[in-house]
């Protein structure tokens, strides 16, 4: 894994994992090639990738998922080279939103995107990305830059720090925020200029049905085989796996795969319990993980696990993914009208966090998390039960509330756990 914590300082710092790993030069993300003799100069290039930061725990390179709240729950962000699996909510409303946040974060940071879907054309998905929330100052600068970017000199002459005026002007992109995670406005669309300035590859399965394959038939279904070949081509040709030494500027490839496992991909794992190609999906995930571990990329996959009939497959898929987050929205369920949950739109479960390069991992103590989509922001917070203040609540409704609160984890502790409501 890329251990980039202290590599930027060069050979000066010893006694840290980052520098030691660079000295040995055996991380998967080091380029295989003539530099394998192990020089420290190779490490400093890993630090300067936009939109990444090293983890505080083990120097692992992290990218933001697009939601700062989710980054914090995952221990700082999504590690480069890993898979984030999102178990979709029932109507795919919020999981597609998380998917779009991930892609939008990639555009803001200048990462290359690879969007794969069997349902929606990736070009349409990119049009629907949420707009980033900028500070007012940045927004004004952005507008000004767009209008008169030909102006060489700034209008304000520096009086005190006049030496700084002689420094070369920094090339600032439209959104020059160097923060790690960004906030997005779900009600607005991302500006067209940003989308056009970004580099992206789309894989829309219905368009690729007739294309030829170089992988011989194995137990993978056709859709998965083509997708793997496409991803491998992009990684190889653009040099994300270090195979192209002429590349000066390293970048991250963000891969987004939507509705993996659904029947639209040609897989019947969601339709029957005993399917013919039951290993297709798990084999795909394994080879995908192999591709990710040997390249500078991060992947988000949304999967309709609520449709998969065979629980064993869900367990295997969870074991084959690194980070697994499950979404459970209240739409259509009886919890929508339950006064306990009136402030929230759904629950979010962090099912698995990987232990990468470490025996321990950052896990938050809070296990009951709920999300809500306010007008602009998607927030994740600890599930707080409202206090039971009313005196006139009838006995039966109190029992209902107590019954549903039993489903929450032991972390809430506010309402009675059993069916009997004790009146003191």
């Amino acid at each position: 894994m890329a251990a980039a914590a202290t590599c930027g300082t060069g050979a000066g710092s010893t006694g840290s994992i980052g520098a030691a790993a660079c000295k040995n030069n055996v991380t998967s993300f080091q380029r295989k090639g003539p530099r394998a003799s192990g020089t420290d100069s190779g490490c400093s290039r890993l630090v300067s990738i936009a939109g990444t930061r090293p983890s505080v725990r083990n120097g692992q390179l992290l990218v933001s998922t697009g939601l700062p709240a989710l980054d914090q729950l995952l221990g700082g962000g999504l590690a480069v080279g890993t898979v984030l699996l999102i178990e979709e909510d029932k109507y795919n409303t919020y999981s597609s939103l998380l998917f779009k946040y991930f892609l939008a974060e990639g555009i803001i940071n200048g990462h290359t995107l690879l969007v794969a879907s069997a349902k929606e054309n990736p070009a349409d998905t990119l049009q629907e990305l949420p707009a980033p929330l900028l500070d007012d100052n940045c927004k004004k600068d952005f507008d000004e830059d767009v209008c008169n970017h030909k102006t060489p000199d700034s209008n304000i002459k520096m009086k005190i720090a006049w030496r700084y005026q002689l420094l070369p002007k920094m090339e600032s992109g439209p959104v020059s925020s160097s923060r790690f995670g960004h906030y997005y406005d779900a009600s607005k669309r991302m500006p067209q200029e940003l989308i056009e300035a970004s580099k992206w590859h789309g894989f829309f399965f219905p368009e690729k049905l007739s294309s030829t394959l170089t992988i011989e038939p194995c137990s993978l279904t056709g859709g998965y085989r083509k997708l793997l070949q496409f991803i491998q081509n992009v990684i190889y040709e653009e040099g994300f796996d270090g195979s192209n030494p002429q590349k000066k500027q390293k970048n991250i490839l963000r891969i987004g795969i939507q509705n993996l496992g659904s029947p639209l991909w040609g897989d019947d794992i969601c339709c029957t319990e005993n399917c013919d190609n039951s290993h297709s999906l798990t084999k795909f995930l394994y080879v995908l993980r192999g591709l990710l571990r040997t390249s500078l990329s991060a992947c988000i996959i949304t999967m309709p696990t609520h449709l998969i009939q065979n629980k064993a497959v869900i367990a295997r898929v969870t074991n084959l993914s690194d980070t697994v987050v499950g979404l459970e929205s209240f739409i259509g369920s009886e919890r929508e009208t339950n006064p306990l949950y009136k402030d929230y739109h759904g629950l979010i479960h962090i099912r698995q966090i990987p232990r990468l390069n470490n025996l321990i991992y950052d896990v938050s103590d809070v296990k009951d998390l709920a999300f809500k989509l306010k007008r602009k922001l998607f927030t994740i917070e600890r599930l707080h039960l409202p206090p039971d203040l009313s005196d006139t609540v009838s006995h039966s409704s109190k029992q209902d509330l107590a019954g549903s609160s039993k489903l929450l984890g032991p972390g809430c502790g506010m309402m009675a756990g059993g069916k009997q409501h004790l009146d003191f």
Partner: protein
């Protein structure tokens, strides 16, 4: 290796039993710390180790190994460690047709493949050196993990056959040890996995089972470890010895304590 776990198992790197199959099992938690323990233990015991690592990359084990006091790169360079990196090799095998048979050849096959190439690889890696000078004490095979082989299209019987062949080659012929990790799917009703787990449990001499706590998540106690000593060849006349401890994983070690005696509680 974790010194506390060595005390519990009553072994040291200098004094170990040979010809044994150790089964590592985890249920509702991550048992990979046991794999790191045994890897560093056998490297320190000066054994020749063949590590079939199917789920994580080499640098992951290397970085953790360095925290535990062994260097995997040095071991690999001097020939003590033979490392089969599943993730990296799978990409090579899958996208490019290989000239010579590759251990992970079953990834390219349409129907259920066999693990014979992997067995040949293990045998080749652990065969004794002919020049008479025994550099390493005895061979050890470490597999992380066997449940992922079921996800890749192999049947439980194929994996059990593979383990049987390896046991003959490593444990019986060369008096070496085998350590393998299998996930317990619990209530997920994974029949193939249950067949594999039950089959291996009956053959193993030592079972280490890491379970999550029945009461849920706890910050100070990460899980419970059950140690079961067995004698597969003899009839069940004598009772198998079993111990249960709870553990907490720290940055460079794991501390074990009796049930309910966590330092956070006392």
């Amino acid at each position: 290796m974790f010194p506390e776990l060595n005390n519990l198992l009553n072994t040291t790197p200098d004094r170990t039993e040979q010809g044994k199959l150790t089964l590592l099992c985890d249920a509702k938690t991550d048992g990979s710390f046991l794999v790191h323990h045994f890897l560093s233990f056998y490297l320190k015991a000066n054994c020749k180790v063949c590590f079939v690592a199917l789920v994580q990359s080499f640098s992951h084990y290397n970085i953790v190994g360095r925290k535990l006091g062994v260097s995997l790169t040095a071991a690999r360079e001097c020939g003590q460690l033979v490392f089969l990196e599943g993730l990296k090799s799978s990409v090579d095998v899958f996208f490019r047709a290989q000239a010579e048979p590759h251990p992970l050849q079953f990834l390219r096959e349409a129907d259920a493949g066999s693990l014979q190439p992997v067995y040949e690889f293990v045998r080749e890696a652990l065969k004794p050196v002919e020049d008479g000078q025994a550099a390493w004490r005895y061979p050890v095979l470490l597999v992380d993990d066997l449940s992922v082989l079921l996800s890749l299209g192999l049947g439980a019987v194929a994996v059990l056959d593979f383990m049987h062949y390896c046991r003959v080659a490593v444990c019986w012929e060369q008096k070496g040890n085998i350590v393998a990790l299998v996930h317990d799917s619990g209530d997920a009703e994974d029949e193939e996995n249950d067949i594999l787990l039950n089959g291996l449990s009956h053959q193993s001499h030592l079972i280490l089972r890491a379970e999550g706590l029945a009461t849920g998540f706890c910050r100070d106690v990460h899980g419970q470890l059950r140690i079961l000593w067995r004698t597969p060849s003899q009839p069940a006349a004598q009772r198998d010895r079993s111990l249960t401890y709870q553990y907490k994983i720290q940055d460079k070690s794991v501390s074990f304590f009796a049930k309910g005696m966590s330092p956070a509680v006392l």
